[in-house]
Symmetry: C2
Subunit: 328 residues, 2 copies
């Protein structure tokens, strides 16, 4: 029997999870919940009902795991605890500073309901966190570095789109080659934001817009662009659609550490992702952790879990015996 | 109170574990057991007794985790089950084909004694297994590739040393650049052994030895060298000591997979290790899993565990709260 998964929301991330479910025989998409008018949502997988979020309680016994596709700013702080009181849930909460608070809220709700809530799943937080944590435990004396890109930052692209006179925008985050080389060479450098990443922006402006003013507003935008070397290219809508319609991303975490009684040996651990589709890869990670949520709860586990708390065997559709025989 | 660790044997790997213990404040080396004459073994850490393996039973209540530094061919198949009947144990058993049998033997012994036995810890098997397994679960449609090197293979170096007329030898395993590029480019190639790695040998021969015969014996050696393109360099003992005395190694595992309803998006996950000292890095991984063995057993777990079965939070000296706040 398949593990019955439902999605809350049907944006990029939820569609990425749907695509991943389609690739895993033991997972089945059974419903998409929406806060909009269900008739306006067309689900790609045949036969999957779209249901108003108001009616979700009626699905308590028909869904094994609910995946929350909402945003970390306002959706997930409310939704994850709320739905953990009815379902096993998985989210991709990524506001690093608020993770402890979010954990406590989800933990209380999931313990009360006897369900499992897995938070902060994806690639950062998510796979990158797993690698940072394991590598730090293995090489306790050293430094962690996280590089993002080359890839599209949706938050930075959105920030440009809010500028007056901008019709569309795509922002690429790019690691600085010399910074990457220094880390890989065990030089253990200290970086400012500017030294580690550059930002490249492709912008479609309204006809007759003041391009110099738009460029100035971008490069001087606090937090988003001011701390970085930013380049701005104005392009046509046709060029945007032809060359910048994908959502590729990636990045790498590096642990550079030493061993030996005299700390004489350097070691570099690098975990590197090159992703054609950020939402589909994130969705694939979430699908594997949805499997884990179901299994953990079936074995009696309850409460909030992070990627640090879950044996990786729970992620696989293969049995423990198969994993030992083929992947150890 | 520290976690009390003891070593069985005092070869390269055990000394790597000792070095790692020295870097972790919550771990303490309390004894080294040997099957040789204890008086012939000098331990680097001050005040650590060297004890005959025959007397190990008297240490049952004085050791929290026993690390087994022996070899997979003959030592560990006997030692790990034997000592799991007295102690929590960790080994680095690396005969992939015999892991299921070894698991079952250790599991039976550790369940009977109420202890935890963690097997096949290091980097391959070990960290590479963890990455292969997780990446396969996340990207179920794809291929795994493992490249080793550039680094010293101790098994291949030993094989050359057994040839008549050879005084010393060092063998480097080297990934083929074009093969690596093809995998990183999502080409999903199929390789013969020869296409994926080359072998480079540095050999010190006896004076007057038949170098052509030695070279022929190396490059034609079945399994070890015949399936590869092998180059042989004859060097002096001085050059060997000056340039080839370290034990660097490394390698990388790559998962190349697709997502999307039309499998239209490629993703590449790479985990890459560059290690100045193979035994010290392996020892560092083992030290972290020794911590896990102690904690798991303290919580009531018993039996054999692999890297797939253990939540990574158990590897760290930090609390779950600290990990969530700083590394998630």
């Amino acid at each position: 029997m398949s593990i019955r998964i439902a999605l809350m929301g049907y944006g990029n991330l939820s569609r990425g999870v749907e695509s991943a479910i389609n690739q895993n025989e033991d997972l089945e998409l059974v419903a998409v919940f929406t806060r909009r008018n269900p008739e306006g949502v067309k689900v790609r997988t045949a036969g999957v009902p779209v249901v108003s979020a108001d009616e979700i309680e009626a699905w308590k016994d028909k869904v094994d795991v609910l995946v929350l596709g909402g945003g970390s700013a306002t959706d997930l702080p409310v939704q994850t605890p709320k739905y953990a009181s009815m379902f096993n849930v998985v989210d991709s909460f990524d506001t690093h500073a608020k993770i402890p608070e979010h954990f406590n809220n989800v933990d209380a709700a999931a313990k009360a309901s006897g369900k499992v809530g897995i938070i902060s799943i994806g690639w950062d937080p998510g796979m990158f966190s797993l690698l940072r944590m394991v590598s730090t435990a293995v090489l306790p004396e050293g430094n962690n570095y996280t590089f993002w890109g080359k890839g599209v930052s949706q938050g930075h692209s959105d920030a440009i789109r809010r500028i007056e006179g901008v019709l569309d925008a795509r922002q690429y985050t790019i690691p600085v080659d010399s910074a990457v080389d220094a880390v890989r060479n065990s030089e253990n450098p200290t970086f400012t934001a500017r030294q580690q990443h550059t930002r490249e922006c492709f912008v479609v402006a309204e006809e007759g817009a003041d391009l110099a003013r738009i460029e100035k507003e971008i490069v001087e935008m606090p937090n988003y662009f001011e701390p970085y070397d930013t380049t701005v290219h104005f392009i046509s809508m046709e060029e945007m659609k032809a060359n910048h319609s994908g959502l590729p991303h990636g990045g790498f975490v590096i642990r550079s550490g030493v061993t030996g009684f005299d700390k004489e040996h350097n070691h570099v651990i690098e975990y590197n992702l090159k992703l054609d589709s950020n939402p589909e890869f994130t969705g694939s990670v979430i699908a594997a952790y949805a499997r884990a949520a179901y299994r953990l709860n079936k074995e009696g586990a309850t409460g909030c879990k992070t990627i640090f708390d879950i044996p990786v065997a729970y992620l696989s559709s293969q049995s423990a015996e198969e994993l030992r025989a083929h992947l150890l």
